[in-house]
Symmetry: C2
Subunit: 333 residues, 2 copies
């Protein structure tokens, strides 16, 4: 199944609705509406049906996934023969990010990307890459929806995209083996880790890792496909900028496999439903690897087989804002 979230206008403004996406039928199915109608047919009052449907299919995808098998089974049932009232044509939907993850761990798991980035500065792959899959954490509150504009922060002159696979956790787990890790996965989506290269560099050289260089925007979507729909080890990944192909790769070239990323994330930390892991950028999957950068107004499309197209336009730079005044070293202790 393919899950997403769309925006509809309710009495108190915009609200999020969980949907099942059927691209072949060019439609999405509003799960809460379909379930409500099903309950009404089984004798529930409108109000009681609404209450139960909202608890089963809440606005939060993470909260829905946390219901475990119950959510998946009910979604399959709700979308099997939906009433017309629950169906929206695909071209009319306003996408929201398909997931509201409590955390995003963004790995770097493709050697070719690391090698390409290092080579541009005359270096080679940093040795730690071969010891364990490195990752940092992205701000989960700055996720950008499919088709939404990407804000251009005032502190950067160099924006770039990153073509990644997003891995969605489905079950609680801690200290698992890679074999067990696969069962913790709910599904996958496309992730664009927008990056301010002129800020990311100094941040990484400081040892603290990317922060302002990555936290301003991460695009996700358009939908999450459950793992049974795909071969995770053979996903074709493509990026286009203004219609021109800049990047092409495959999940087959992962140095650290998906199961290892999940198992490593679960080392000494409990993973929870809805947490998101990024694979890191596939080889050639960024402008920086080609000496190119994004301009305001550019349209970036990421496409992964079975996961649709994640399209975003780059916004105009924000007006200048406050930045810290550098300090001088003080050695008075």
């Amino acid at each position: 199944m393919k899950f997403a979230r769309i925006a509809v206008t309710g009495v108190d403004g915009e609200e999020a609705r969980l949907v099942v996406v059927q691209p072949e039928a060019q439609r999405v199915i509003d799960l809460a509406t379909a379930w409500r109608l099903r309950l009404e047919r089984r004798g529930a009052t409108r109000e009681a049906a609404r209450r139960l449907a909202a608890a089963l299919f809440p606005a939060s995808m993470s909260a829905a996934i946390a219901l475990g098998e119950t959510f998946r089974e009910a979604a399959a049932e709700a979308s099997a023969a939906p009433a017309e009232e629950a169906v929206h044509p695909l071209e009319s939907v306003r996408w929201l990010p398909p997931l509201d993850p409590p955390t995003i761990r963004d790995f770097t798991a493709f050697e070719q990307h690391v090698r390409n980035m290092a080579a541009r500065q005359g270096g080679s792959v940093f040795p730690e890459f071969y010891q364990r899959p490195p990752y940092f954490k992205i701000n989960p509150l700055t996720i950008v929806a499919p088709e939404a504009e990407v804000p251009w922060p005032h502190y950067t002159h160099h924006l770039d995209y990153e073509l990644e696979i997003g891995l969605v956790i489905g079950r609680q787990g801690r200290n698992v083996s890679p074999e067990e890790a696969r069962s913790l996965l709910f599904g996958v989506t496309i992730l664009n880790d927008f990056s301010a290269r002129d800020v990311q560099g100094p941040e990484m050289s400081s040892g603290f890792g990317p922060a302002k260089g990555k936290d301003f925007a991460t695009a996700l979507g358009p939908w999450i496909a459950t793992c049974d729909e795909l071969d995770l080890d053979d996903l074709t990944m493509v990026a286009r900028v203004n219609g021109e192909e800049w990047s092409r790769g495959s999940s087959a070239s992962l140095t650290w496999k998906v199961e290892e990323l999940v198992a490593y994330a679960a080392c000494g930390e409990t993973l929870w439903p809805g947490e998101l892991l990024g694979s890191g950028t596939v080889g050639t999957g960024s402008g920086a690897e080609h000496g190119r950068s994004l301009q305001p107004g550019a349209v970036v499309e990421l496409e992964i087989g079975g996961l649709g197209v994640l399209r975003n336009r780059i916004g105009q730079p924000e007006p200048p804002g406050w930045l810290p005044q550098p300090r001088r070293s003080s050695a008075t202790y």
Copy 2:
């Protein structure tokens, strides 16, 4: 006011309750209970009073803070002359973490700590420290309550503590000046950024920043004091291990002031109520600065004037678990 969360046993198991802490009266006041009783006195039915009280004082502190002035005013009113039923003696409470933050940005804002850490390896402060306040993000799902045991991950032999101030965001804001930043702050608490030093080092040298070295546990609490209760520029900070003082410092020695940390966090990113910023470790505020480390069973107490004592015992090491098998470089592209 001082806010915290405590655990009580309900019909369906343990639940979180928001309380106002009055250390001088050796008591806490359950806000939802106090508010429910107040509503009942004003003619509400028990059920209706419960519903409104739970919406105003939910289990989530972040959700409560997001109510803005309404939350603070109601809390003041509820705790002014509470009914006996809403009062618990301080010594009987089971603390929960006072906050459930959606994100934790952990800065390093005390030059002396950075200098001390560098000096142990024969180095000096990294130059980026003087350009902007560096930070990384900690897993917000592994917060440890006051008095709770700290898990010892299987992948480390070297555990340490870090004595920090936790800054709680109270209002939405983006691209603000330091002058405006103060108004975004809700309050402060004590933060112990437990660290696996043998893992943190290689992670920082990789450029991706701390991950497994920090994400396994962060202690918070026991309470959040609102900013009007304290002089943020003059907080005395002390750490004791097994009763022996290891660390002593003051917020007066912050290189990057609290307002600058908040303003920098809001550069190009919208801050939301309940987000948490760590000040970074005060000078002398870790074992590593003294060449010392924690042993299983050690009791770590952090004390900051007006914020109480955050006490945790270090657990026994987890049994050995899976770790990634190192890769060999492949240069076949």
